[in-house]
Symmetry: C2
Subunit: 205 residues, 2 copies
Amino acid sequence: MELTSKASTDAAPPQTRGDLSRERLVAMAMEAFAAKGFHGCTTRDIALAADMSPAAMYVHYQSKEELLFLISREGHEATLRQVREGLASASDPVAQLTAMVRGFVHDHAEGHVRARVTNFELANLSPEHYRVVMAMRREVEETFCAVVEAGVRSGVFSTDDVRMTVRALLSLGIDTARWFRDGGRSSAGEVAEHYVGLALRMVGV
Amino acid sequence: MELTSKASTDAAPPQTRGDLSRERLVAMAMEAFAAKGFHGCTTRDIALAADMSPAAMYVHYQSKEELLFLISREGHEATLRQVREGLASASDPVAQLTAMVRGFVHDHAEGHVRARVTNFELANLSPEHYRVVMAMRREVEETFCAVVEAGVRSGVFSTDDVRMTVRALLSLGIDTARWFRDGGRSSAGEVAEHYVGLALRMVGV
């Protein structure tokens, strides 16, 4: 019923059974990779967690690596989209960096399960898939560098090594995915707000 | 010859063949865990890399987890020793934090192989070994918190959340182990010096 009414308003195609199976497999793979690491679980584990036989799983995905790449690509696409939006949301570097750090940290905290897979399992991608993901990571880093450089030029930021400072800013978000747990001392939003303050101090505001 | 002369000067017991075998196994396990993850390599891989049969390896270590614990415990002991030394090296919080961050970042960069294992494989320790390691991690965090709190009290530091700021300071070092590579753009010492500057800004100096 809900699917039909959605389809009639925005013309999105209804989800097929195959779509739902694929979604479930990706979700189960993400949980398994985050909990046990890519090599810590088998395709069989993932299939069974999704209530499927390994043979049924191979109809949808050819390998564990294909699942890892899908998760990794989606995660990086989401990050890249958000960084671009942060950049476009303002014209001054302070507001741009604020939006970019807020989004980056928030998503690495709230989406810590996916972020652990996307950041800590890169070495298990095929060389071809690794290149695709690294191109997105480079664009994220270059966008942060461009904003910090613009701030230094206009005199609102100061740092004697833009790239190393950006590396540190990104570390704040990435490492959050390692330690953040739901229901812990601080919410994703609280961590993001505190880290925005730290980030602005790091660039000398 | 060197072993004998060393033994005659400082009375350290000479290394036995068993000591050398154990050292080699730990070194090979560390490389393997860092490169492929704990679940990505077998005890057989580790034994063969150390020019030993799996059976000969079991004379020295009962399991892969025992090797992981040894590496993890040594790594955390070294970090804890260094943090305590940094604390003892001065009496004012700025100098203490400077020494602690410099040592912490430097060792996570220079010792990035070991640091990846000690920080990213915690979930693969047995519950008992996990508790031992976590007690050391807590002492590291508490020591940083004590220094930042002392600085806030004396008015040289400012932060509205000591613990979250310390979490971020530690992230700078821990995440360095993820991205740092030998022969890259910056040396471990250069990263450590730059990060000391960022850390002092983060606490409002």
